[in-house]
C-alpha cells in the first residue's frame, strides 16, 4: 500500500504539468494498460475559499473550473484525478497514471519514468521565473546627510 503522502505528491505533479507534458510521458510507456471509466471525464466547478487577513475567518473568493475522472485499470487499481480547468484528456491521463502508480510492482519504475521527469520540467519553469522575480528585488541605500556633530 503506497503511502498517502507519496500519492498526494504525485497527484500534485500530474495536476500541475500541462496536458502536452503528460502525453509526452505517456508515449514512453511500452505497455499501455486496458482500462474503463468508472466516471468519464466531467467538468464542473469548485468554490475557492480564503481567509480574511490571510489567516482569519473564512469567506468565498469565487469559483474555478475543474475536471474529474475516475478509471479502473483491468486487473489493476482505480485511479482518480481532479485537475483545474476543462481539459478532459488531462484528467483522463492523470487518472490513468494515478492508477498505475499505485501498483507496488510498477511504482518505483514509473516514478522514475514518469514523475521524476515531470518534476524536473516543473522545477525548470520555476527556476526560470524565480530569477526574473529576484532581479526586481529593491536594494535600498540610504545616504547620511548633514554634519555628524
Amino acid at each position: 500500500m503506497i503511502d498517502q503522502t507519496i500519492r498526494q505528491s504525485w497527484i500534485a505533479v500530474l495536476s500541475k504539468v500541462e496536458v502536452k507534458d503528460l502525453e509526452e510521458v505517456w508515449q514512453r510507456l511500452k505497455e499501455k494498460p486496458e482500462y474503463y471509466y468508472l466516471r468519464p471525464p466531467e467538468t464542473g466547478l469548485i468554490m475557492v475559499r480564503a481567509r480574511a487577513e490571510g489567516t482569519g475567518s473564512l469567506f468565498h473568493l469565487g469559483e474555478m473550473t475543474i475536471t474529474r475522472c475516475t478509471v479502473q485499470v483491468k486487473n489493476g487499481f482505480r485511479g482518480t484525478a481532479y485537475i483545474m480547468g476543462r481539459n478532459q484528456r488531462h484528467a483522463e491521463l492523470a487518472a490513468l497514471l494515478d492508477a498505475l502508480l499505485q501498483d507496488p510492482y510498477q511504482h518505483a519504475s514509473l516514478m522514475d519514468l514518469i514523475i521524476r521527469p515531470l518534476e524536473l520540467t516543473l522545477r525548470k519553469r520555476k527556476t526560470l521565473m524565480a530569477q526574473k522575480v529576484e532581479d526586481t528585488r529593491v536594494e535600498f541605500f540610504t545616504m547620511v546627510r548633514g554634519d555628524e556633530t
Binding site: G44, L45, L61, Y82, V138
Partner: protein
C-alpha cells in the same frame, strides 16, 4: 385588452451576422486568437475572471474575443456559462502566506523580511506611450516561460502585519476554526451583511465602482488614515478533498492579489488603542481593485467600531447592492427593451393632466 407585437426575427438574425463582421474587422488583418488574448491581454483576462467570479483564463479570453473587448459583456458571458456547470464542492482555504510571489511590497515599512520585490509592474513607467509597440518585435529567444510558474527561494515570507500583531499594535484577524461561512451564489444578499459576504461581494464587484468609492473615503467621506501594510501578488496552491479519496489533493495553482491595509487606531474602555485593518483579495493580478476592496472592507466595519457613517462608502446597502456590474447593467440596459405600452399609459396620463390643468372646471375650453 392585450395587444402583443411580434417580429424582428429576420432583423435579429441579420444583426448577429453584422456583429460577427464588425467583430472580425478588416479581413486582411490576421484574426485574433484566444491564446493571444490570454497571453498578451492577461490583465483583461484577470479582470474578467475576478468579476465573472470564475477562474478559467481560457474561457475569459474567449469571452473577451466574443465581446470585442467589452469587458462587462465578457463578464456576463462567463457568469452565464458558469450556471451550466455542476459544483463539485469547496476548496480548502488558500494559504496566501505560502504564496509563490511574483510581487510583494509594503508602504508602511521600508525593510521587510524577504525584501521589497517589484515584480512586473507599471508603477514606475512614467505613463509615456511606447510607440515602439506599434511594430511587432522580432521573435525573441524561445523562452518557454509560462506566465504562472515561478517561485522565490527559501521559506515563505512572514507577513508584515504579523509583526505589528505580535507587538499588540494591530487588532487580530479573527480566526475561526469551524465557523459557518455563507455563499452569495447560494442565497440572496441580506442587509446587514456579515464580513464573509462583504468580502465575497467585493471580490466580484465592479472595479470602477469600488475604486471610486475607495477614493471617496480618502477625500473625507469616511476617512480612516490608511497605509498599505503589504501587497502580495502570486500563485497559491488550490487543494480539494474529493469525497472518493477522503484526503486533500492539489488540483493546481491560481494567481491572486492580496492587500492588507493598516488603518486608524481605535481604543475603548476595555481595549487600548491599536491599528485596525482592511483586507482585499481578488483573482488574478488586480492591484487597484484589491487596494480598493481593503479600503472599503475597513469603511464597512463602521458598526463594529461604533463610528459615525459619514459617506456612501460606509453604507453597506449602498455599496453591496450596487457593486455587481451584471446586476447593474441588467437593470440599466433593460431600458432598451420595448416599453411601448408603459409609455402609452404615461402619454395618456400626461394628456389628461394637462387637460385638467387648463380646464379645471371642465368648462370645455379648447386645449
Amino acid at each position: 385588452m392585450y395587444v402583443s407585437a411580434k417580429g424582428g426575427e429576420k432583423a435579429i438574425s441579420k444583426a448577429h451576422e453584422f456583429l460577427a463582421e464588425v467583430r472580425r474587422g478588416d479581413l486582411s488583418i490576421p484574426e485574433l486568437t484566444v491564446e493571444q488574448i490570454r497571453q498578451q491581454l492577461s490583465l483583461a483576462v484577470d479582470r474578467v475572471m475576478a468579476e465573472g467570479s470564475l477562474y478559467d483564463p481560457e474561457l475569459a479570453a474567449l469571452a473577451i474575443k466574443q465581446s470585442s473587448g467589452d469587458l462587462i459583456e465578457a463578464i456576463f458571458l462567463l457568469r452565464a456559462y458558469r450556471t451550466t456547470l455542476t459544483r463539485f464542492g469547496v476548496t480548502l482555504p488558500i494559504d496566501t502566506t505560502r504564496m509563490t510571489l511574483l510581487r510583494r511590497i509594503s508602504s508602511a515599512y521600508k525593510d521587510i523580511p524577504g525584501g521589497q520585490i517589484l515584480g512586473p509592474t507599471y508603477d514606475y513607467t512614467h505613463r509615456l506611450l511606447d510607440f515602439s509597440l506599434l511594430i511587432p518585435s522580432e521573435k525573441g529567444e524561445d523562452q518557454k516561460v509560462l506566465k504562472c510558474e515561478f517561485s522565490t527561494q527559501g521559506e515563505p515570507f512572514a507577513r508584515v502585519l504579523e509583526f505589528l500583531h505580535q507587538e499588540g499594535l494591530v487588532e487580530s484577524g479573527h480566526s475561526g476554526e469551524s465557523e459557518t461561512v455563507q455563499d452569495l451564489t447560494l442565497q440572496p444578499l441580506q442587509i446587514p451583511a456579515t464580513r464573509d459576504l462583504r468580502l465575497q461581494n467585493l471580490a466580484r464587484g465592479d472595479e470602477g465602482f469600488l475604486l471610486s468609492l475607495a477614493y471617496s473615503t480618502q477625500r473625507g467621506f469616511g476617512y480612516n488614515h490608511p497605509f498599505i501594510g503589504e501587497i502580495r501578488v502570486g500563485e497559491v496552491s488550490v487543494e480539494f478533498v474529493p469525497p472518493e479519496l477522503g484526503f486533500p489533493i492539489e488540483i493546481g495553482k491560481i494567481t491572486v492579489t492580496e492587500c492588507e491595509m493598516i488603518n486608524q487606531f481605535k481604543g475603548s474602555s476595555t481595549h487600548p488603542p491599536c491599528f485596525t485593518r482592511g483586507y482585499g483579495l481578488t483573482f488574478g493580478h488586480c492591484e487597484r481593485k484589491a487596494i480598493a476592496i481593503s479600503l472599503l472592507d475597513r469603511a464597512l466595519r463602521t458598526r463594529e467600531f461604533g463610528e459615525a457613517q459619514e459617506g456612501p462608502a460606509q453604507d453597506e446597502e449602498f455599496v453591496l447592492m450596487h457593486s455587481d456590474n451584471i446586476q447593474a447593467s441588467g437593470f440599466v440596459e433593460h431600458l432598451k427593451l420595448p416599453h411601448y405600452v408603459d409609455f402609452q399609459a404615461e402619454l395618456t396620463l400626461l394628456r389628461n393632466l394637462r387637460k385638467e390643468y387648463r380646464d379645471p372646471k371642465g368648462e370645455g375650453e379648447q386645449p
